[in-house]
Amino acid sequence: MSAPGSPEDWLRVTANGLYCEPGDFFIDPRWPVDRAVITHGHGDHARAGHRRVLATPGTVAIMRHRHPGDATSYQPLPYGEALSLEGVDVKLVPAGHILGSAQVVIDYRGQRVVVSGDYKRRADLTCPPFEPQQCDIFITEATFGLPVFRHPPDVDEIEKLLQSLMLFPERAHLVGVYALGKCQRVIALLRRQGYEAPIFMHGALFGLCGVYQAQGVPLGALQPIGGVAKTELAGKIVLAPPGAQNEVWARRLPDPRTASASGWMRVRQRAKASGIELPLVISDHADWDELVATIDEVKPGELWVTHGAEEALLYQASRMGVTARALSLVGYEDEE
């Protein structure tokens, strides 16, 4: 399958992230470049200041919202459409991580590399599911690359929240969510479980919810807490960025019961250390089983691991007979 030479000759790991030499583009670079291909809109992947950006229409909408003053020229590329950059074929394929998230499929001289970006394999009401692509080199994340990470079904976790509302009707339920992705997924899950009441939100969350709604993701009635009597927030769901429970803002809530929606909530000691009362294991990253199943499915000649708990995943790949190496890319956070 592999032609003379190897993809390592044309796809290099640099201090500024992955660089495709013949196509002259970076993928998710840390500092401004002439041409960037962006996997998805999270801050550690979609940074400001690039001259030209190639990304899905969803990611472009998110980036325009987040970097309004930028002079960047955006080139939206819908899922599945191929484009040639200086003779290198590039295609964006759903990654199932958040709205607009994509794997970058690069074909050059008969070889295929897939840069998965962040991804998950579970269904998500706010974005299309991950599409596995067989390839020579699969570049994966490993945020939850330990076998203790197995995310439970997300509806079970949302039910835990709804049960708690009944058990503690006198307390506001303050749920910590990342503004991009997790926030909208939790709202969509609540709606899907029949929660029709207005969902109250910290002011920092409205902008991106607007982007999702404009992209056709229904979220129902969303309301700020300003001007709402404290007593009216009892037994209600209030979403806020992580950590907001420790801010002065939280004093407007009646005896808040603090929840957090994150894959890290799977480990009790960690959840407890962060002062959370109601941990909700809802993740936008692949868990261990999904990481392993994906390697099995895409059958890469080689596996490259970008960031996360890579040691266990490299060991597991070797048990599966797959050559694997750690790229140890810096600058990515485990935004969960």
Partner: protein, 522 residues
């Protein structure tokens, strides 16, 4: 088991007492018998397993998962039960349905060290991750979900809408899984009989009294005795059974075996537990040395000799005396004491006085060791459990105070979790501050808001939920007494420290020096 697991999981994450109570009550409401009785036993520390060792659990998991992957995971998680519960892979079709708590208790009690691991593996297969975690915590004896026996009993009382005292009264007469207790609480059976059982009788407590209240009371109708600075206890000897209970009904007999052995049969006594040397009451700190140990060695018993100073007689020769007047009970106590002359006990003497003025002078002169204040008991008062209004008063010695400097503030829990509400304060040693204590009450809500703002604006360093602040704010701390302590960095420990006044006006340089603290040590 899933319900019990969800309860433990909820409790571990819920810091506030009320939240914990809500969760436990919901469990008692929804769980079947005898599972809820076993759960109650687990929470009150009356259910213990010794059949499974951590090394056996590790061996079980390594039969199912690669050792390198397990070690990397354990390294990350840091807790064996949690790692195993998360990493465990159940077979696609579990052979058994999830066990009930009662199955686990019954079968594990019947199991031997040899067949226990196989049983455990079957249950681990059948449970989900939370169920596995709770099971492993249960069988290795490490529940630690922040629930005391008293909190569990309080939840039971609130759920059944009966006074906590009723639960305490029958508690030592019932045993896990407490079927008859739950049947009684649900009105399906009579109250469990406790006749002949060495059960605890909830004690009678006194109302605090201010000097100003005194003149409204008739001095001739009251008896007075010293309020001794020890620990209130109840001695119960019925039939051939003897118990020493703390004021909350915990059996503390194993820590004071010599007292239990010396108890004459056929009485229930109320008294103060003290450490006594040559007829002198030793410091509360000495008593703490005994209370801190679950079991007393001969050396500890010799070094910190225990003693009970008797206040009251509740039962004698099978006769309940609680309805008698204080004077009648006191006469019987004195007769009983004269006839038996029990070892390691004496009577708390009545203080002679005609007027409140005389008593005030007695109180003012009482700077001796071991005296916390004065108890006033109405001569005609029956012994009533709880804290009834009127019959008994405690009239404490004036509190001691120190001017200290705020050093650290920590975020509180529950309603206070967005406030810095726990304060560590210190006094000067040279030009350096040494922490001498911690207080988290004694201020109003408005003061809390102001303190919180002050802390946020004067932060110099952060460590997790704790902030260090610039040493500029003087807190006047009131406390009942201060003792030497090797467990605290400063070498001293306060009893009941609370914020008396916030001295926004006072420069920190005028706060107290460690020498002043030393002088107050009792």
């Amino acid at each position: 088991m899933e319900r019990f697991a969800a309860l433990l999981d909820g409790l571990i994450f819920t810091p506030a007492r009320n939240g914990k109570l809500t969760l436990i009550k919901e469990y008692f409401r929804s769980a079947p018998d005898p599972d809820r009785g076993w759960a109650l036993a687990a929470m009150t520390g009356e259910l213990a397993f010794r059949e499974v060792k951590p090394s056996q659990i590790r061996a079980l998991v390594l039969e199912r998962i690669d050792e390198t992957l397990f070690d990397l995971s354990y390294d990350f998680v840091g807790d064996l039960a949690e790692t195993v519960s998360l990493i465990w892979r159940s077979p696609a079709a579990a052979a058994e349905s999830p066990p009930r708590l009662k199955d686990i208790v019954e079968k594990l009690h019947a199991a031997t060290r040899v067949d226990a691991p196989a049983r455990l593996a079957g249950w681990l297969d059948a449970l989900d991750a939370t169920g596995r975690w709770a099971l492993l915590k249960l069988v290795t004896g490490g529940l630690r979900v922040g629930v005391s026996a008293r909190l569990a009993k309080t939840a039971l009382a609130e759920w059944a809408a009966v006074p906590l005292d009723d639960i305490e009264t029958v508690w030592h007469g019932v045993a896990p899984p407490y079927r008859e207790l739950f049947q009684w609480l649900e009105g399906r059976a009579p109250r469990p009989t406790i006749a002949g059982q060495p059960t605890f009788t909830p004690i009678m407590l006194a109302q605090p009294l201010d000097d100003a209240d005194l003149d409204k009371l008739d001095a001739t109708g009251y008896r007075a005795e010293w309020k001794w600075d020890g620990v209130r206890v109840q001695l119960v000897a019925r039939g051939d059974q003897r118990r020493l209970y703390s004021r909350s009904g915990d059996d503390i007999g194993t820590a004071f075996p010599e007292l239990v052995a010396a108890m004459p049969a056929g009485v229930v006594l109320d008294g103060e537990l003290l450490v006594m040397r040559d007829g002198e009451v030793a410091s509360f700190n000495d008593l703490q040395q005994r209370l801190n140990r679950k079991v007393a060695s001969p050396k500890t018993m010799a070094e910190f000799p225990a003693w009970v100073r008797l206040y009251d007689l509740l039962e004698s020769g099978g006769q309940d005396l609680r309805a008698l007047t204080f004077d009648e009970r006191r006469a019987r106590l004195e007769n009983w004491y004269a006839a038996r002359q029990p070892a390691m006990m004496d009577l708390s003497p009545l203080l002679p006085f005609q007027t409140w003025h005389e008593l005030k002078e007695l109180r003012a002169g009482a700077r001796g060791r071991g005296i916390e204040g004065i108890m006033l008991k109405r001569a005609d008062s029956a012994y009533v459990s709880g804290r009834p209004r009127g019959p008994w008063f405690k009239w404490k010695r004036d509190a001691l105070t120190l001017d200290t400097v705020l050093m650290y503030a920590q975020r509180g829990h529950g309603k206070r979790s967005s406030f810095y509400s726990d304060y560590t304060f210190g006094v000067w040693r040279g030009d350096e501050l040494v922490p001498v204590g911690k207080a988290y009450f004694g201020f109003t809500d408005d003061e809390l808001r102001r303190l919180d703002r002050w802390v946020r604006e004067h932060t110099t360093e952060r460590f997790g939920p704790v902030r260090a602040v610039t040493p500029e704010l003087v807190l006047e701390i009131a406390f009942d007494s201060i003792h030497r302590s090797t467990r605290h960095k400063s070498g001293v420990a306060m009893r009941f420290p609370r914020i008396h006044r916030i001295r926004w006006d006072k420069p920190a340089s005028e706060a107290d020096h460690i020498d002043n603290v030393e002088r107050l040590i009792s």
